[in-house]
Symmetry: C2
Subunit: 370 residues, 2 copies
């Protein structure tokens, strides 16, 4: 991981839970395009669970980013129009402070002494970065999955600083079935003896747990209809079956996904961010979810996917409905029939991409171009 | 496990795959009600993955059976009308020959030297038992989940010996997404170092793998809407959250399910039967699924549940449609809106139970009562 910029916040950072504080904070981020004179054309891309700040390739890092085709000149997030910022989330392992960072007070990696992290904390860190960049108000926040949660929370916590938001495949509060699916991933990691209560940085790596966790996650990221089309009942070895080992290509696909991800991401980061997603609830501290959502005053686009099993479509219908009921007159809801389940936001340029582009650029005549 | 009868088939038993044969076979079974003089009132209940022959309590085993409320005098499967037989499936660990049985040729438990098992093998074993009991033709087969696969295969393989079948929450061939979910359960078991390639009978038990596997399975057995109603976002400790440990009651529910099941069932049995379900395909050896299903000549009731994520409702619509297209004029399809997902067949007396009762008893005037 290279090619990102670092913002050093050399002050204590207060966390939401357990009165915890970090002695200091670093935020890794990348930017594309130019900030205009009035500083009014900034768009923040808020990343998903395991994504880095590298949404798009650039001179300092030529590797394709996780939203490569969605960001760029003329793209859904048009870098000719907008100054695009993508921060790495608090708790991650790609430059921003997280469990694998060194605690300056002890000189050792935090591991599981890292404080329990929340969506609110991640948003606070993002806005400290915006302060540093001198950006008072964002044109828009765009986020998918965890990123969508962050966009909603950003609009709620900083209503004067967010012009509009796009929440893709997200929700207003985590549902027990998605908590269950994330819990299982955490459990497989924490059941790996090498996890060692999080203190594995100087010992053997909990690879088995990470592999299994990613295989479970992969199941929740795609959809049955896609797998039917892509794998059907195709066999690895047409001669088989001979043993209990994998027979079908869907099995080797899952194995491959687990294997290739298992060493790319820090297991403790996964635990902390996954837990933060479970705890996400826009109604927390309010008498109802609707009241909590009434903090979101800016225009909102909600995009949901019918084949998503992690953030089911009805959750996103609910999000859009409650935003409307809370008095928000600027709610747009798109329901996509993509086959790609939760991962649609990574793949569907024509569906998700077109919606994002349209929503970001409607009214662009009001902006000063750089 | 006690109170079942044992049928000893003291001859070699040919298996479907790899030209394997078992030197002998035992089938555990239980019966309720009386066989009439013409031996025409027998109903076979075909059990699910981890179920024993104990569908219903009786004098030799007073503990409630897995279908306790569905079987009995006046119940869905009426023991005043029918002679009810429930065999334990081949590959299981509750009396019928399986991986934990002793191989008479070696004097040791088979473990993973047990041959790969198929749905066809299980049906063959069931019908050897019927031969032993002198039952030429069943009034009906009733099966849920794996049991529904067995019912379909029974009607296909023994068209003259099955009067009608009821297939509940089953399918015509396993879908890649259900293969994926079962593969993950097998993988967690096989990743437990104590699994020891299946040879754990004299060593430490692969409990961690079994627990995780059952937690994954539990996720596929119920439904999001049920969990929303039952657990919502209720917390274990209202004061929390403090740590990465479980915060929500849905998490402790999954833990409990994993813990309580983990030592009740033989891990190798789970591997073999789970694999057999993956391999299930009524179209195997035929030019199409429809042609394979055309072997099912008897009347069929197909029952599906809209909230089932393991055997999605559209799979069961497909099963019913293909049976009809294949020329079967006796197809009845019920689509239930139960909240209980795949486990509906264990819980829904008024929905599943009523359908089963009606379908078994329609035309009962043609039968001799005992």
């Amino acid at each position: 991981i290279t090619g990102y910029k670092l913002f050093h916040h050399q002050h204590p950072f207060e966390m939401k839970y357990n009165k915890a504080r970090l002695p200091e904070l670093q935020v890794a981020y990348e930017t594309w395009g130019k900030l205009n004179e009035t500083k009014s054309n900034a768009v923040m891309i808020q990343a998903g669970l395991s994504a880095s700040s590298h949404a798009k390739s650039h001179r300092e890092n030529l590797r394709p980013g996780w939203w490569e085709k969605f960001v760029g000149p003329g793209c859904a997030v048009d870098t000719d129009e907008f100054f695009v910022i993508c921060p790495n989330n608090l708790g991650s392992c790609y430059g921003t402070t997280g469990p694998s960072s060194v605690n300056p007070l002890t000189g050792k990696q935090y591991a599981t002494t890292f404080p329990l992290t929340s969506i609110d904390d991640m948003v606070q860190a993002n806005f400290l970065l915006l302060d540093e960049l001198g950006i008072d108000k964002l044109h828009a926040c765009v986020g998918s999955s965890l990123g969508g949660m962050l966009s909603l929370m950003a609009a709620a916590e900083f209503p004067e600083r967010v012009g509009r938001i796009i929440s893709i495949s997200s929700c207003a509060q985590s549902h027990p079935s998605s908590i269950a699916m994330r819990y299982l991933q955490r459990k497989t990691i924490m059941s790996d003896p090498n996890w060692n209560k999080g203190h594995y940085y100087d010992g053997p790596y909990p690879k088995m747990g990470m592999k299994l966790a990613r295989e479970i996650a992969t199941m929740t990221y795609r959809s049955g209809p896609e797998w039917d089309q892509r794998f059907s009942r195709e066999r690895i070895d047409p001669g088989g079956p001979n043993t209990l080992c994998p027979t079908f290509t869907i099995e080797s696909y899952l194995e491959y996904q687990g294997e290739s991800f298992s060493t790319k991401y820090d297991p403790n980061s996964l635990l902390y961010i996954s837990k933060a997603m479970d705890l996400f609830d826009m109604g927390e501290g309010y008498s109802s979810l609707q009241e909590g959502l009434s903090r979101v005053k800016c225009p909102v686009m909600v995009i949901g996917v019918q084949t998503d099993i992690l953030f089911p479509i009805w959750q996103q219908r609910t999000l859009a409905e409650l935003l409307q009921k809370s008095g928000n007159l600027g709610v747009t809801f798109y329901e996509l029939n993509s086959l790609y389940g939760h991962d649609t936001f990574l793949l569907d340029i024509n569906g998700v991409g077109a919606a994002v582009k349209g929503y970001l650029e409607i009214g662009r005549q009001f902006y000063q171009h750089p």
